[in-house]
Symmetry: C2
Subunit: 183 residues, 2 copies
DNA sequence: GTCTATAATGGGATAGAC
DNA sequence: GTCTATCCCATTATAGAC
């Protein structure tokens, strides 16, 4: 039962990808930290892209759940609030994972365009739902803006000196996102 | 007077950096499009980093102007609106330039950390001003959120099928950013 | 100012022994 | 499962002729 090594590789890669960036992280560096050689990594993951896919899977699943939930909701203010809250929860629960996409979108696109496309598609569908049925251009823009607000949960740490609790982030950013939609 | 070539190089590099990403764009590719060889680029720019610096200068200047303006304003709702509008204008006037930082933050950091740090610092100072004097944590978060909303001006094109006019963007996103601050 | 040629480095990935 | 050794490739950057 040596899924241990596989997991360890994933953990180390996640940390490096999300801080340094995907492209700026070499397999040599990952292997070094895990305590292996580059070649041994290839026993566990067939390529750098495969490693990224494995790491990113939980986030994709998380978005998908929110999307499934949203699809079964009528577009009421209460439901919008609920969906935004769930999106925010996924972001907070997968902070470093989301960080990979924010730190190095270009690198992810270059290495695994399909993964990136999946994320864009899901973001698109969420924004579409948020905008409501037959939305005006303004409503679409506001929906996108609301989602951008939730991204502040991640950039905040770069801008703020003091730590902010997840509870406060949840509360403030949810209200802020609703404000961006003028709800 | 062959600043022509220098300018042409800058133009091509800007386009490639902002679409493919800084790190994903090789000097060979730039040279090819300009109609030169790689070696000739080095006659005009001493390194890839120097090329980036030259490209990025106008954006740095733009932010600085907004910052100077804000510093001389009292923190009233009208002034907040004004400053947000100016930030948005800078973003719209330098769309592809801002795109460089959004597409490949990690690559920029790796190649020119000081440039990145300058941008972060300026963003920080703008957010600090927006948050107002002696702000609560919530107010700081809302200020960051408001700035993120303005970033929607750039991500919008990835999410929307139809073109949106700059005027509509200006109007809607400005109001949306104010909404994020509950103003 | 632009070229050809080449150095120097580092990356992802594979072969094959153990 | 992990290792050593190597391949292959692209990149940034430089040297020197024209």
């Amino acid at each position: 039962m040596d899924g241990d090594t596989r997991d360890k590789i994933r953990e180390v890669a996640l940390e490096l990808f999300s801080t340094r960036g995907f492209d700026q992280t070499s397999l040599r560096e990952i292997a070094e930290r895990v305590g292996l050689t580059k070649a041994s990594l290839y026993y566990h993951y067939s390529s750098k892209q495969a490693l990224l896919s494995a790491i990113v899977a939980p986030l994709v699943d998380g978005w998908q759940e929110v999307l499934d939930f949203a699809s079964n909701q009528p577009h009421t203010p209460a439901a919008v609030r609920d969906v935004l809250a769930r999106i925010l929860d996924v972001m907070l629960d997968n902070r470093s994972l989301v960080g990979i996409f924010m730190r190095d979108p270009a690198g992810v696109v270059a290495a695994a365009e399909s993964i990136w496309q999946d994320m864009i598609d899901m973001g698109n569908q969420l924004a579409t739902w948020l905008a409501g049925p037959a939305p005006t251009t303004a409503e679409q823009l506001r929906a996108i803006a609301a989602m951008e607000v939730l991204g502040a949960a991640l950039s905040a740490s770069a801008y703020l000196k003091e730590e902010v609790s997840d509870e406060e982030m949840r509360e403030v950013l949810l209200d802020s996102a609703l404000g961006a939609m003028r709800l």
